[in-house]
Symmetry: C2
Subunit: 399 residues, 2 copies
């Protein structure tokens, strides 16, 4: 291991690809004949194969949840704050499985993959996949890995929705469902923001109705805008203030020019960037647009919009959980305005109504929706304690 | 008056144009040699010229605040809920002046006007105007109308910022400053949303660096996206829920398919519109993009970003108000997340600190930032009562 890799990291990791030949019937009615899933695992599967944890990723995530792909990587996987030896999801205790979801753009079959039938990119012809479809494909992966029951399925945001779906679709196949910063379904405002993102991509002239790869281009501006909008919703107002200058809630908290951290010290009186938050958003948008597939982004937002497990139960979410036999942990963050605490409480209430065993934790954190990815101390401690108990249960069961 | 025009309307109105020859020194250092302001007035100026109220408009507003331009108009002016005979801003008592701000696109000189020097559209060469510049131009209009002192200056959102600037720039020239749903300056999140709007316009290939009119086109998609984003921030999450279907805060408030009001009853499993909120946003964006000048939109968002009257007082807002001699009424709305109540309280605190006479009212209203335009009963009653008192003061003063 390189000297630059921290000792509490899972270290260097190599993704693996699994091919699946059995056709997958999708929620849309379409069928995916065959597909690949790209997977990373951390830690060691025990002899009973009882210590596996499935990690589900959110909108822009992928299989690379922890560790480094090379010693020169500047950044580890997206959930490295939580996954590693001695960390909350302790790879000394658990075997952690993390995959790139179907329709993704980091290795698993998706719009940027070659469609064997046409020998060109799937592009916009890649079918819309739903949270239920993802969980189905994750179930097949579980089977392939010879795992009978996940010790836990865990995820934040869209990942937390997959967790809920696991508890409904395969109630016997997981011990714990840990759903973080999620919602039982999107609000009209959530859908509205997604639609702005989609519209910005689709209306980019370089989108070419989704066939941009054949045209050797991509809708950079559209993706950039989509990410800029998304990014605003991931951060709380207070997190932005902390990052880009204070606003005066207490107007006596004086200081010159507070609230505006000018790059030049002077206003441009033009359309140039005047405030740091503008260049920050540009940077985030640029970076994202160069590394993410636009068709995948569209699919992911539709999966979010469509998520509503109550829909097969006449809108009664409690009924949806009727057959669930796992234990539940729900976590929300105080300043998350994308999926605020009340949305997690809706899930908690439905679970209580269904008579399920549920723990719920609302974490005071300034970072907004993004908090689920960050080393917020109380959050990390809570997850650590909970998963230690999960491990003790496994040990007790085995002995 | 047409039978279709309600009896509590100011009725048919005709805008007037005022030409100003005296060069206007702008905050940016640039100079506008001459300009026109388009103005509507409602009610009658009394002999003492003491009953005039100036109405300041917000980002997408203009001079047409009340009444109808023709008997076949489907909609009245943007603040018809508040302005008219017997209404809160009672045109039986007051002479109401409403203008299109400089840089606007509804008649006053702006980017879509012809620059006499070049004999073509100003376009992107129209100088960036600030709230301070607007107030300066409104001051000249006041002079032209022979008004010595406004009984009140009133406005919501960006209009409320002009009200604050009046109290600072021309402290002797207004009796009451009524600032509704405003903020002492933008938050980083506010600026971020504005930057998304600007970026969507500027990155539209039809923008042509602002010279779209010469190219016989306009950045329709960019403006549409800008308006879609803006519109989301004007509505509260709860207002959207009310408009487009409920979300289950109480999950027992059952009913099938709640929270999603599908157009077709079925999901499209494609990129079509699935939810009413999507088609609503498209409609709002489309309508706006066909009626608003993109360069004006850019200018208006910069005026918002730049607004911070404390900047000349080392960040001390109380000091900015030191010379103000008017009375203040601040109003905010509980679900406004663009300029939430705490932003109005910052202004109130600064005014109290400066020893000014200030009333503050926080209105419980579901409609978010948009509430200031709507006939929210408690809001209307409060404004009505306050302005009746203003009129009594005038009468007492005159007698």
């Amino acid at each position: 291991m390189s000297a630059s890799i921290p000792t509490d990291s899972v270290g260097l990791v190599t993704p693996q690809s699994y091919h699946f030949d059995e056709p997958l019937d999708l929620r849309s009615g379409k069928v995916l004949d065959a597909y690949d899933l790209t997977v990373e695992t951390y830690g060691t599967l025990n002899g009973e194969k009882s210590n596996a944890i499935l990690v589900c990723h959110a909108l822009s995530g992928d299989h690379h949840a922890a560790g480094y792909h090379s010693a020169t990587d500047k950044k580890p996987g997206w959930w490295d704050a939580c996954i590693g030896p001695g960390k909350a999801i302790d790879t000394d205790l658990f075997f952690v499985v993390s995959l790139n979801n179907l329709g993704g753009c980091a290795g698993s079959t998706g719009p940027a993959s070659i469609n064997p039938k046409t020998e060109t990119f799937y592009g916009p012809d890649f079918p819309v996949v739903t949270v239920r479809d993802w969980v189905k494909s994750q179930f097949r992966l579980m089977d392939r890995l010879g795992i009978e029951k996940w010790a836990a399925v865990i995820g934040g945001s869209l990942g937390g929705m997959q967790v809920l779906r696991w508890a409904i679709s395969y109630p016997q196949r997981l011990g714990h469902a840990i759903s973080i910063a999620a919602a039982p379904k999107l609000s009209a405002q959530n859908i509205a923001f997604n639609e702005v993102a989609r519209h910005s991509i689709i209306s980019d002239p370089n989108f070419h109705a989704g066939h941009y790869l054949q045209n050797n281009t991509y809708p950079k501006q559209g993706l950039m805008l989509a990410r800029m909008v998304g990014h605003i919703t991931y951060l709380s107002d207070s997190a932005m203030r902390a990052k880009f200058g204070k606003t005066v809630t207490d107007f006596e908290a004086t200081g010159t020019n507070f609230g505006r951290d000018l790059r030049t010290g002077k206003l441009s009186f033009g359309l140039n960037v005047d405030f740091q938050v503008e260049s920050y958003l540009h940077y985030q948008g640029e970076r994202f647009s160069e590394n993410f597939d636009a068709n995948t982004y569209l699919l992911m937002t539709k999966a979010l919009d469509y998520f509503d497990p109550s829909v097969d139960y006449e809108g009664n979410l409690a009924h949806a959980f009727a057959n669930s036999s796992c234990k539940f942990l729900l976590i929300s963050f105080s300043t998350d305005w994308r999926f605020p605490p009340e949305r997690s409480r809706e899930i908690v209430n439905a679970l209580l109504k269904a008579g399920k065993e549920v723990s719920y934790l609302e974490i005071e954190a300034d970072q907004g929706h993004d908090a689920f990815l960050l080393p917020v101390p109380r959050y990390i401690r809570a997850l650590t304690t909970y998963l230690k108990r999960v491990h003790q249960e496994l040990a007790a069961h085995a002995s």
